[in-house]
Symmetry: C2
Subunit: 310 residues, 2 copies
DNA sequence: CATCTCGATACCTTTTCGGTAAGATCTGCC
DNA sequence: GGCAGATCTTACCGAAAAGGTATCGAGATG
């Protein structure tokens, strides 16, 4: 069987006349006769009764007409869906985020993506940095969001946002009442760090800041993610350095304070990671949106060019 | 697009390798390459990423693979359903019956048909004889059941059953108690006749019997169908001649009596009517079942060869 | 009975499909 | 680093299939 034969059959069935059907198909009549005969031979069924007035569908022909129309509409649908998938307007986007990346900019990016590509199903997976890299290579996800990324073979990164760092302080804490807070002021106070697992991470960065400023931090506790860290701050475990987007986390008993006289490079990047050479148009659409958002993002604080202390 | 291309595409997608796919399709590799290229060109979409290890479906390719499998299964279904329709094992049978034909043999025939052809939907229409003939010509029905049919242009008949005639008598009626009942005994009693409309009908036949036996019947009432007639008999309107199959109608206060010394041709035929030249295999199936049933049918009475009165 | 309509058949031309041979590119191995 | 192997692509040729023209045959029509 052949789609041509199906198209021809429908024309003949609808016109009930080979000559007219041939005209409609822009071919001459004899080849059409032959195609119909071949179709009947292949199915082993008489589809038309030949009358002196033309062609009249049999019951089997009527059945085949119905199915033929189904086939044609399915093919139309297949074509359209494939083309839309090719343009990235239809399909599925598997994205991994780390625990506290649900804050602020990432939901905004994903919301914009879903609005622009309503027929792309966005599936969110929660994964650590290491899990994201593995999942990327196994193609279980198309993109991941993370911070503190070292350049890696086969993985590309795209900057989403650069965030300044704030200090989360319990409301009654001595530091909460100071007017201007300098980085060195942290020295005397226990500090909560995150995330555990997957070094180098933000923890190493914070320790490095402290050493650069000339002191060793007193580590109160290491926890898995920012949300837990801020919760511990609320309970009085100590203070904690968090990306500015964490201010979306309004925790009773916790206030966020900007710091002056900060060490150099006192900010963190949030990036999107994906496979090098991934030409998926859906990924391209996501990156495009990320690019649009990046210009708008740093609103809690300037993109923090390393501030020399006065 | 072409079913060949779809078949080829599925093979390549499943093998992820043009060479192996070509082997599976029993063609050489270059034509396969070309068909895939043509398919991609026609869709305007890249379906595969060419890697040094083989062919890897893109997201669009994945989408098309899914649709391609749907298309193939739909075509398989179309083929099978059409073939079954061609053999009369799938489709629809529109049958017309007259009011009281629901008795006895016709339900049995239709039940047997539905058992043998479970995928043929049987649709029953209630029509008078005239309506049946019109519906047949307009192809609204495939077959009808009726009695007393005159030969007609374009209509074929097939005998379903030949039934003897019985006399329906009210329980307390003088005739109900007689030991042997002869046809002439009817003479003194009012008679209920059916069906009205569409002469010549059973009514004329009964009147003819009476005249042949040498008397004019006293007509109590003419009604539309046998069921009504028997109901009137129960109410004391008179007696009534009914086909033997009417004994399925067990009406309180009505008894059925056989008659002796009957006129010649004292029976009625029940026939199936259909269009001359209708080659529908479903109709053929119905006629086949009717033929099988006819041999079994006359069980209330012998097929009633005209009995010469002694 | 001549004529018209419609589908089927015969025969030829053109298109398309599949096969063979050779090219280009990347991987992996010694 | 160069060479063998695998894989897809390109080029060209013969074979199969599709379409076109001319004609036939059967049934309807005036």
């Amino acid at each position: 069987m052949d789609l041509r034969q199906i198209r021809y059959f429908v024309a003949v069935a609808e016109e009930a006349n080979i000559g007219r059907a041939a005209a409609r198909l822009h071919i001459s009549q004899p080849p059409l006769t032959r195609q119909i005969q071949q179709l009947e031979a292949e199915l082993g069924v008489t589809l038309f009764n030949r009358t002196p007035r033309g062609m009249e569908t049999t019951a089997a022909g009527e059945m085949f007409l119905e199915e033929a129309r189904n086939i044609r509409s399915l093919i139309e649908q297949a074509t359209e869906r494939t083309q839309r998938a090719g343009q990235g307007r239809l399909g599925r986007l598997d994205v991994a985020i780390f625990g506290s990346a649900i804050l602020d900019v990432i939901p905004k990016v994903l919301l914009a993506f879903r609005t622009r590509y309503p027929d792309v199903k966005v599936v969110l997976h929660t994964m650590t940095k290491a899990e994201q890299l593995e999942a990327l290579q196994q193609k279980r996800i198309t993109a991941g969001f993370n911070r503190m990324l070292a350049p890696l073979e086969g993985i590309e990164t795209r900057l989403v946002a650069t965030e300044s760092l704030l200090l989360a302080v319990p409301a009654g804490h001595p530091l909460a009442s100071k007017e201007t807070l300098r980085f060195r002021d942290i020295e005397a106070h226990p500090i909560v760090l995150f995330p555990t697992g997957g070094r180098p991470s933000f923890i190493d960065r914070v320790i490095h800041y402290c050493q650069e400023s000339g002191f060793e931090p007193e580590i109160s506790q290491e926890v898995g993610d920012a949300v837990t860290a801020v919760a511990l701050v609320a309970s009085g475990f100590g203070v904690c350095l968090v990306p500015s987007s964490a201010t979306t986390l309004r925790f009773p008993g916790v206030v966020y304070r900007e710091l002056a006289e900060v060490p150099s490079g006192f900010f963190v990047d949030l990036s999107c990671i994906y496979r090098t050479g991934d030409r998926s148009p859906i990924l391209a659409g996501l990156l495009e949106i990320i690019d649009e958002f990046r210009e708008v993002v740093p609103r809690h604080q300037n993109p923090s060019p390393p501030q020399p202390s006065p």
